[in-house]
Symmetry: C2
Subunit: 543 residues, 2 copies
């Protein structure tokens, strides 16, 4: 048997792998590039599906969905591929339910939920602290962050236990953690959380749909088109579906890549699948133990996404935006919903069952899950929610060659001990995938950045002449370390310099003075106020 | 091609797999049992190797080595297989070096190192707290432990940050963590740490070589003999070496097990390899996502073990026991050494380079590592240490089909969310390996207990008539949950009721009063003393 010979084999036909292939071909059209994909489709953690809707059939994203105007890598690709974005609808009342099934369901219209003064004060001081910490994080090399070892030795849960004093805020942060990572605060390193936020330009960007944030825009026709159009650029003949890589051998001359049916030879391999899947591939010679330890410390999150189509967007008519956030203490299975009405006007809601709620609900019957989702929607938006056209869901833990979504997090200690192995090539093997990104890590944009970075790495080895001086420097730069991340610096201060900040500050101080007398929280309030006032000169927080 | 047909296939020819096979055959000699092993030898994490020694050649254990008189499962097996134990030599001065390369090297003769009064006080209160917590842990179902979620949401590091107040004790505990788990305190859940200690009957048992503790006895001729003799019982023809399992398929009738060269059919499979290796097997249908998430949250430790043979045990002649403990802040690469003189009198020392020190030192050249080890031994035991016969080491991270040692730990959140999947069979697949044990989890004895438990599970399905009523109940019992672990209850109180406790208590109080005045530690000391005295009535700590 003669093995097929390629220049570069890419493992995974998601955004990272296809972006790598696309850049490689743009740089040198003669390069023989093959993309191997375990699934029967391209797109990885993005998938766009047709479902019945008011106007017949329309398509929705059941994986990665949103992009933000600060996500330069994906915005450039959208433009290049001739796709269009449109804003996430967010006008109207948002629903907020925390504090147990019987707690009052509140509505609000700003980007900060209606909270009691005490919780608002708690939130303000926490955001302040988190964004100040974020600004100190070195995304390229998190071990260079001040107090890195301490920050990486505790879970996000432990930090919140120490730095919040209201149960409501802890519940809010649990919801944030689940919605962003599909993981509970106890499952990830606090430094990882900070790094992830810093790579996005600040924590609030992860949560909001305001300009620049992660949930700002959507792509007309769905995000899977990105991968489909990239595949067209790369050539469908160069992308093999249903071809899961089982082993990668390396010797002085070749890398040998095997699937259950084929053995292929090449000069370089780019592995783009998430770490827990990359760990299932058999490597010979074995990967360095540090790399093995790395993938043992990066579990993947759990999310179930649902889309419900309706005859009309009854929530809009009732003054709702469609956005609901519900804490895990309520009976509601989902963490968040948003309006998902399509560009052609087909009314829909999208929601996410996340983290441990996803794990609990995934073991139940689909019908039971749907009933619980609908019953919560009826509670929050009204009886019209029960009269839907179609309910469709996707449990990413059940998807072959994914096993979870949206991202692999890092357990405590990983950043301290194993981070250097995250992007470091192992012989002919280069690592991509959104987990290796330094800008919008964990997002589609990060997947593209990582794929392009790995492509440049491979070119620097195989075709150095195709690289510009700038690109060569980028490769070198990515293999070295930069200082503290500048992007997120003073993000909270910009945020707080709006009128909202003044309102929060006034509320906070009033609440502090009122509550201190009757809640025995005097000491904590005093500490907070001292901190707040002591930094006034620098950042004009209260002035 | 006709596939071979077996009744039961066991993945892994370590102590767990072979104990399972042995029990299965004892119960029904007609059962066709096949053990498949990736390595070229039996024994798993135990391996006994001949090396040059004073009397020519002698053998030493480079993996699991010690047993304790409370480890009933392994003691019974030792007896059954006709092997003998002998005590770990511990007479003489022990060396203790903590607090930086220039800190004073101290010696001591008790089981508690010579510590400053402040550190001793800190240690006493910490042990007190830890053992009180241990006594509340439900090993069978740790989620039933009081405050389980809180305890599982923090790392051991976080607990130590909150409950110790001297840097020296933190360093001591780091050393304990590395020596026991091959892991740093920041890498594991605090509840896991407690559960592990509870499964051993208390924390001190993990650390000591006193009667009942983990380092009490050794096996004449080495521990690998256990696996070799078990293989003789099972029949060498039923154990295939160099046969790594790559995939397990299941359908209504069969389990199909594949290696790179064979496909085998059977009725039940027992997977005994550690979780990070079990995760590399391809399963069809896919395992439940909860099981996949479990193995993503159980990283393995890192240890390098060395044996150095000498003409004579010069340390004994100089009054040393051979036991050295050295903190990571010193220049010493190893964490601990012990006397390893063989039963036939060949002098040797055994030592462990552990946790992150193992990771750092494993990337260096073998010669450089050896020089550093010997230079530390010269420093602690005298110039004679440099004149050795042979230096042999084993880096378990480099061993194929191990990738680490001694045990897989549990990251925060695992026990809260995924623990039910640890022993729960997945169709025809049953899970063993020391990580699944409830008594001496992580030790050789636990491996045997787990293998026997899995064997009984399989018999309950395939040959229920071979089981006694008691065994049937054991299977049911293991599939349910018991209350708080009784074994470790009041362990610390028994420990502290010795004269040592009185000495510690007197030292502690004196130190407290002296140091409180000049170290601004008044509040902490007061708290400790209040706690100590307030529990006096119940446990006679100070009386």
């Amino acid at each position: 048997m003669t093995a097929e010979i390629w220049d570069i084999i890419i493992v995974g036909a998601g955004l990272s792998g296809l972006s790598a292939a696309h850049l490689l071909r743009k740089k040198d059209a003669k390069l023989r590039i093959l993309v191997l994909e375990g699934k029967g489709r391209v797109g990885g953690r993005t998938v766009t599906t047709d479902i019945p809707a008011a106007g017949g059939v329309d398509c929705w994203d059941f994986g990665g969905q949103w992009v933000g105007s600060t996500q330069t890598h994906i915005l450039e690709l959208i433009k290049e591929l001739g796709l269009e974005t449109y804003p996430q609808f967010s006008t109207g009342k948002k629903v907020h339910h925390m504090g147990g099934p019987d707690a009052k369901v509140r509505t609000y219209r700003t980007s900060i939920p209606v909270l009691s003064p005490m919780v608002l004060m708690d939130l303000t001081q926490l955001l302040w602290k988190l964004d100040r910490l974020c600004a100190t994080v070195c995304v390229q090399d998190p071990s260079k962050t001040p107090n890195a070892v301490d920050l990486d030795s505790m879970t996000l849960y432990s930090y919140l236990e120490q730095h919040t004093w209201t149960a409501e805020l802890k519940e809010e942060m649990g919801l944030c953690s689940r919605s962003v990572f599909g993981m509970e605060p106890c499952q990830m390193s606090f430094l990882f959380f900070l790094m992830y936020a810093a790579a996005a330009g600040g924590m609030l960007r992860l949560l909001e749909n305001t300009p620049g944030s992660a949930q700002e825009l959507k792509i007309k026709g769905g995000t899977q088109q990105l991968s489909e159009r990239l595949t067209e650029c790369v050539g469908w003949k160069n992308v093999r579906l249903g071809s899961a890589v089982t082993a990668i051998w390396q010797d002085a001359e070749w890398a040998k890549v095997t699937t259950p049916t084929e053995t292929l030879l090449c000069r370089a391999v780019i592995v783009t699948c998430p770490p827990h899947l990359a760990a299932k591939i058999h490597y010979e010679p074995a990967l360095p133990s540090q790399r093995e330890f790395l993938s043992q410390n990066m579990p993947v999150g759990h999310m179930i996404k649902f889309i419900i189509t309706y005859q009309k967007a009854f929530w809009k008519e009732k003054g709702f935006s469609g956005e609901i956030v519900a804490g895990s203490s309520t009976d509601c299975p989902f963490s968040v919903t948003f309006d998902a009405t399509s560009p052609s006007g087909n009314a829909a809601l999208v929601g996410l069952i996340t983290g441990q709620q996803a794990s609990q609900w995934s073991s139940k019957e689909a019908g039971q899950r749907r009933t619980a989702v609908l019953s919560s929607l009826v509670k929050y938006l009204g009886a019209e929610a029960a009269s839907f056209i179609h309910y469709e869901e996707k449990d990413w833990a059940e998807e072959d060659y994914s096993g979870g979504c949206p991202v692999n997090v890092m357990a405590p200690g990983l950043l301290t001990y194993y981070h250097p192995s995250l992007r470091k090539p192992c012989g002919r093997i280069h690592w991509a995938g959104t987990e290796t990104a330094t800008e919008w890590c964990g997002y589609m944009s990060g997947a593209i950045q990582a794929g392009q970075r790995a492509a440049l790495e491979v070119l620097a080895e195989l075709r150095p002449m195709t690289l510009s001086q700038e690109e060569k420097e980028a490769v070198r730069y990515n293999q070295t370390v930069k200082g503290p991340n500048q992007q997120s610096q003073s993000f909270i201060f910009a945020y707080l310099s709006t009128r909202k900040a003044v309102v929060i500050a006034i509320l906070t101080v009033s609440a502090a003075l009122l509550l201190a007398q009757r809640q025995n929280a005097l000491q904590k309030v005093k500490t907070f106020l001292t901190n707040a006032f002591s930094t006034t000169k620098q950042n004009k927080f209260l002035l």
